[in-house]
């Protein structure tokens, strides 16, 4: 042992070593350890000393760092794969086969690239959830939260553009489903509302721009290849630099507790670095083992004439695809994701109290924010599970244990509401919904109010259920709508949005009512077979 240490010492004192690593002879004192962080281009993203809390694994779960690790894994394996890949319809699929059957480690590289991509999407979302729950987006970190949201969108887009490259049936149909959403963009998509007014058609709309044609073809493949390998990684890399820089400059989010000495810190090297290293090792073991045990999917070669039934988007978009059952594509595919993105970025600017609950998990101090955010996250994943597991041919409902060979009767016929009724309903919902929480001046206990509303909703369900011409299922949906509206749209904002300015209140309520409205529309569709609340076919406007 002594000999090895001596050898190491001699090695670190050679001129070559000294020229590579800054600092004098390593004496393993505090100054050396700080110098090690500051003098190294990669490590200096850390401060030299951090609060003890931020080294605790259960504070960050290492999610941000692991997301970056996954980005690096994807970059490295992606570069290796690029050596063997030609982005043309004639060759792309054959190159997949070559990777699988003849290229050394080709199958492994493809597997790990695929599984790391899925894992990255999950980890970036979880990272966002963690940052939200610890209040780490609050002043002065609002901007970095916004950058993070953009990075989440870019992560999804990176994964989505990569989906097309194997050029199998899975690829072109998932991308067809995904890009069809672009044609539903208001004004800019051939099938979106108001586009006919602007002369936007199949050959000049948003989807055409994305695909380089009217259907997924060789032009799309090159476009997605360049986006996947160069354009989006470039953009992501730039934003990652900003993101890390601001994490560092805004101060690590594990802010001191009110009664804590802000100067009480531990050295980053080795306390934090070793934990990061161990997290990375565990992630790599997980990825390598997964890639060893399971192969990335590869279906038959892409055939634009053979549509699989069902055709499914990549899993992280299946929640939105599931919403297509309840909404027109322009809402499910464009407006909702747009509102979600903008809404997420707006969160830090709408905060009623930017000093509350920063740097630690706190449900009690921020019940409103936590309830709304976690409901959203839960709904997003619940819809994904439904779209992934429960939907079979013709998008009919199949339980996981049911064979897709079994035929299912079609859904009952749907109808749209008369125009005046639909417009009236939406007008009242938003008009009244916006002002109601500010009109109620009474003070009440939130918990008991929610319990009362719940009991009332159960009563309503029973009453509607026994009414002639209604069923208990319809009663359930009425009560469901009533409950989430009264709790999310009245009780919570009345109690928790008292103190914020009018502008913030208005933005908050619009987002909240849109969020609740999504569920109300689902209830209308499932309980009452309402296809559209408002339908104006002249301008393709269906709500």
């Amino acid at each position: 042992m002594k000999k090895i240490e001596k050898l190491f010492e001699e090695l670190t004192n050679t001129q070559v070593w000294r020229s590579m690593f800054r600092g004098g002879t390593w004496k393993n004192n505090a100054r050396d350890r700080a110098q090690h962080i500051l003098g190294n281009v990669w490590l200096h993203l850390h401060p030299a000393r951090v609060r003890p809390r931020s080294t605790r694994f259960t504070y960050t779960w290492g999610l941000g760092g692991l997301s970056f690790l996954l980005f690096l894994v994807l970059t490295v394996t992606g570069i290796v794969l690029m050596f063997y890949y030609r982005p043309t319809p004639e060759l792309a699929y054959r190159d997949m086969k070559d990777l699988e059957f003849v290229v050394s480690l080709g199958k492994f590289m493809r597997n790990i690239h695929r599984w790391a991509a899925h894992t990255m999407v999950v980890f970036v979302i979880l990272h966002m959830v963690r940052v939200f729950l610890t209040g780490a987006y609050k002043t002065p970190r609002e901007f970095n939260w916004g950058i993070g949201v953009v990075l989440l969108v870019l992560t999804l887009f990176l994964s989505f553009t990569g989906y097309l490259l194997p050029w199998d049936q899975l690829a072109i149909w998932a991308v067809t489903v995904g890009t069809n959403m672009a044609s539903a963009t208001p004004f800019a998509g051939a099938e979106g509302p108001f586009s006919s007014l602007l002369g936007v058609g199949l050959k000049n709309d948003a989807r055409f721009g994305l695909l380089g044609g009217t259907a997924v073809g060789s032009a799309t493949l090159v476009r997605f290849y360049v986006l996947h390998c160069i354009a989006v990684p470039f953009l992501t890399g730039i934003l990652l630099i900003v993101h890390f820089w601001r994490v560092r400059k805004d101060g690590f989010s594990a802010a001191p507790y009110p009664n804590e000495n802000p100067q009480q810190k531990v050295e980053t090297w080795p306390n934090l670095v070793v934990r990061e290293y161990i997290g990375a090792i565990i992630m790599l073991i997980f990825l390598v083992a997964w890639s060893l045990l399971q192969n990335a999917p590869l279906e038959s070669i892409a055939d634009p004439n053979v549509t699989p039934n069902p055709s499914k988007a990549p899993w992280y978009f299946l929640g939105l695809q599931e919403l297509l059952v309840y909404f027109d594509p322009w809402i499910a595919g464009v407006v909702l994701p747009g509102v979600i993105t903008v809404g997420l970025m707006a969160i830090p600017y709408l905060d009623p109290d930017p000093t509350k609950g920063v740097g630690y998990y706190s449900f009690k101090e921020r019940p409103f924010a936590n309830i709304v955010f976690l409901t959203g996250v839960f709904a997003w994943f619940a819809l994904i599970v439904v779209g992934t597991v429960m939907r079979g041919p013709n998008w009919a409902w199949y339980w996981p244990w049911e064979s897709w060979l079994m035929h299912k009767p079609p859904d009952p016929p749907t109808h749209s509401l008369p125009l005046f009724l639909g417009v009236g309903m939406i007008g009242i919902y938003f008009g009244l919904g916006m002002v109601l929480p500010r009109l109620i001046k009474a003070q009440f206990a939130v918990r008991s109010a929610i319990i009362k509303v719940f009991a009332g909703s159960v009563m309503v369900a029973l009453i509607v259920g026994v009414l002639p011409g209604f069923s208990f299922i319809q009663g359930f949906w009425v009560a469901f709508g009533l409950f989430i509206y009264l709790v999310g749209g009245v009780i919570l904002p009345t109690s928790y949005l008292k103190t914020i300015s009018n502008l913030r209140y208005a933005v908050c309520m619009v987002l909240l009512l849109l969020f609740i409205g999504t569920f109300l529309k689902v209830a209308l569709r499932l309980g009452f077979n309402v296809k559209y609340v408002v339908a104006i076919p002249q301008v393709s406007l269906n709500i």
Partner: protein, 436 residues
């Protein structure tokens, strides 16, 4: 006194996590490297080399003359130099990269120009009989590759994947009679293709004959020739993608879900059960009748011949210079109007619906009068002019038994574009000559 901390704490101490994390990562990555190196084809190549060495060594030992000994020694040295490598035949004309010869080493055209080996078992055997040998020599392996005739997945180097017997590969190996379908992809002159004096693709010719006998083209078209009641056997059936096939009622195991099997069960089972439609309108807005195809329940060999023939209609991916067209066999039209009328009746597949003897009675789901009409009884009730009109314009709408049920699938198509002139007149004469 120092007490040892509990096992959990020790295991999850940073030091041990660091150590074991590195060790485990090293091990799993090692496993990846090893599994990448262990490939099925390497085993076959080692085996082949060992066999070659033994064979040539024995040849040296048993050599009688010096010349023989020298030759055997050369062969032995050649066997020693057999490299471990992936071999492939690139056949650009057929868009194929066939790595079959990586394991099927007997077919290596460079090492083995005669394409003949003494090995009796796959993957080393080549030319199971002289017939196969002459066919292989006529189709230069280096130019044609393997998969254009044999099917399978040429790029694959694992047994099941290479034989196409995996999910998401639609063309498994052609086996038995089905292999003859490949000849017909290029050769129209099947009857001239003889091996040892016998016609090789005889089952395709027989399949074609069976199609005519059963009157398949009364309902099905073949490249546009025939009735419009069901799908075109060349343009739709022979190239049908698996995802458009509903195997639910075939009783086939999932691994047997192939196009060939789908076609074959139509002849060995009742098609009305394979394609039950939706007669009560449960799953569709309109009720749909079950398949109208009669249950022929043919013997296995006939079903295979028909399947091979239908598969042989697939003409995709063949460059024109490889096609070997032949004039269609001249039709021998009888000069006797009644006899010629009978020939016309057979040629246009009237028998499919009206029966080979024109007695009708073929089932037609939800048809008011049950089976198809017996022409021996109905024809005498019409004038010649009326019969001509019926053949010309058809009977597009047939009366339903249950008014809420589906349209009966069988109806009389309009034949005026196909049956005309003297053929039409002779057909009418033939029909009028029939009596019950």
């Amino acid at each position: 006194m120092d007490e040892k901390p509990p096992l959990f704490t020790r295991l999850f101490a940073l030091r041990s996590l660091f150590l074991w994390g590195n060790v485990i990562l090293f091990v799993v990555f090692g496993a990846v490297m090893v599994s990448d190196q262990i490939r099925g084809w390497k085993g076959y190549q080692k085996d082949f080399k060992a066999r070659e060495l033994t064979r040539t060594k024995d040849a040296i030992a048993s050599a009688q003359t010096d010349d023989d000994k020298m030759r055997a020694a050369d062969e032995y040295q050649a066997a020693q130099r057999i490299p471990m490598e992936i071999r492939q035949i690139v056949a650009p004309d057929f868009d194929a990269v066939d790595r079959c010869v990586t394991c099927h080493l007997g077919f290596d055209p460079l090492g083995n120009p005669s394409l003949s080996t003494e090995y009796k078992e796959h993957p080393f055997k080549a030319t199971p009989n002289t017939a196969a040998q002459s066919i292989h020599l006529a189709h230069n392996v280096e130019k044609f590759g393997c998969t254009v005739c044999h099917g399978g997945q040429g790029t694959a180097t694992e047994v099941k994947a290479a034989h196409g017997e995996v999910l998401h590969w639609e063309q498994p190996l052609f086996k038995g009679t089905l292999l003859q379908a490949s000849c017909a992809k290029c050769h129209d002159n099947l009857a001239d293709l003889k091996v040892n004096g016998a016609v090789y693709a005889s089952e395709i010719i027989r399949g074609k004959k069976l199609v005519r006998e059963h009157g398949c083209i009364g309902c099905h078209q073949i490249a546009g020739e025939g009735g419009p009641i069901s799908v075109d056997l060349r343009d739709e059936t022979s190239i049908k993608p698996l995802s458009r096939i509903d195997f639910a009622y075939t009783g086939l195991e999932h691994e047997d879900w192939t196009l060939a099997n789908w076609i074959k069960v139509h002849f060995t089972k009742d098609p009305a059960q394979l394609v039950p439609g939706d007669p009560r309108g449960e799953f569709n807005t309109e009720p749909i009748a079950p398949s109208a195809m009669p249950p022929y329940i043919l013997p296995e060999a006939d079903a295979d011949a028909l399947t091979a023939y239908i598969l042989s209609l697939n003409r995709s991916k063949i460059l024109p210079q490889y096609l070997r067209p032949a004039p269609a066999a001249p039709e021998v039209a009888s000069s006797n109007p009644v006899e010629n009328g009978r020939q016309v009746y057979e040629k246009f597949g009237c028998a499919a619906c009206h029966g080979p003897d024109a007695r009708g009675g073929i089932r037609n789901y939800n048809y008011q009068w049950g089976g198809t009409p017996n022409l021996r009884r109905s024809v005498p009730t019409f004038t010649r002019e009326e019969i001509r009109e019926k053949i010309n314009d058809g009977v597009a709408f047939v009366a339903r038994n249950d008014p809420h049920g589906p349209n009966p699938p069988l109806y009389m198509p309009a034949w005026k574009a196909k049956i005309k002139g003297q053929e039409l007149e002779n057909l009418i004469t033939y029909l009028q000559s029939l009596r019950d």
